[in-house]
Symmetry: C2
Subunit: 153 residues, 2 copies
């Protein structure tokens, strides 16, 4: 292997600020959301379901969307089902598949929690950023996302 290309000063600064921000931010948002009785993961489930046709998704599609393993999703749903925010519905067409379906209570819980969560995102991420910076952020992570999707996995 040839000599290593270390990070430039500008890259190092970006990397450090980024890493530090991400870990702090996720913890802050988690606790911002806590009063609603939801975890960030639960919230994401409800959001995905609410955006889906008939407010339901197949387990495996949901797992992929959430970057969760099948077993992880099963356990996560266990909690949401006992809270009655989500119901398991067997598919009539394919008896292997289970749908996760948003219940009315789940919809209500999401509607209740969403404004606070949006406020949380605003205050934890966007606060203090200019319009241009928000736009740049979108561009940067569009590139990053595409790059990650393209790379050897």
């Amino acid at each position: 292997m040839a000599t290593t290309t270390w990070l430039s000063a500008s890259e190092m600064r970006a990397w450090r600020n980024f890493i530090e921000s991400v870990s702090t931010m996720s913890a802050a948002m988690e606790s911002d959301l806590a009063p609603s009785g939801l975890t960030l993961g639960d919230y994401e489930v409800l959001v995905r379901l609410s955006e889906s046709e008939n407010q339901r998704m197949r387990m495996c599609d949901l797992a992929t969307a959430l970057h969760l393993s099948p077993s992880g999703l099963t356990r996560r749903l266990d909690g949401l089902v006992t809270s009655e925010l989500v119901a398991r519905v067997a598919s009539p067409a394919d008896r292997r598949v289970m749908f996760a379906a948003l219940t009315p209570a789940g919809h209500a819980k999401l509607a209740d929690a969403a404004p606070d969560h949006v406020a949380s995102v605003r205050s934890r991420l966007f606060k203090g950023l200019s319009r241009d910076q928000v736009h740049a952020l979108g561009d940067i992570f569009e590139t990053v996302k595409a790059n990650l999707a393209a790379c050897p996995e």
Copy 2:
């Protein structure tokens, strides 16, 4: 409560790309690092210690630096100690405190893993970004970090 201020289209795009990128990126970096036998958390411990005076830190300072609970750090160190990459050293000055000290093997392991990890950061985050974008990224997360530090926590 007044009406909720939802995210603008630009904010929504930035938020979605950001969230998606972060989760994918951390998984990718974790597996990039796996061949070295280290986890990202282990790596961070070694980095912190290597940057510290005498290659050692007090447990509580290290826990704070890594955003880890005291118990979490204790367990994490357990692994590194049995791998002999880090040693626990009692402080002569204050018998409550334990130092986590980088061993020569730990230093060697870090030197071995660092180039690959730097390459990973380059390829997962910076690849495809212009010089200006890297700079903007540093600015943005400097603001975010400061904002997070200032907020009610």
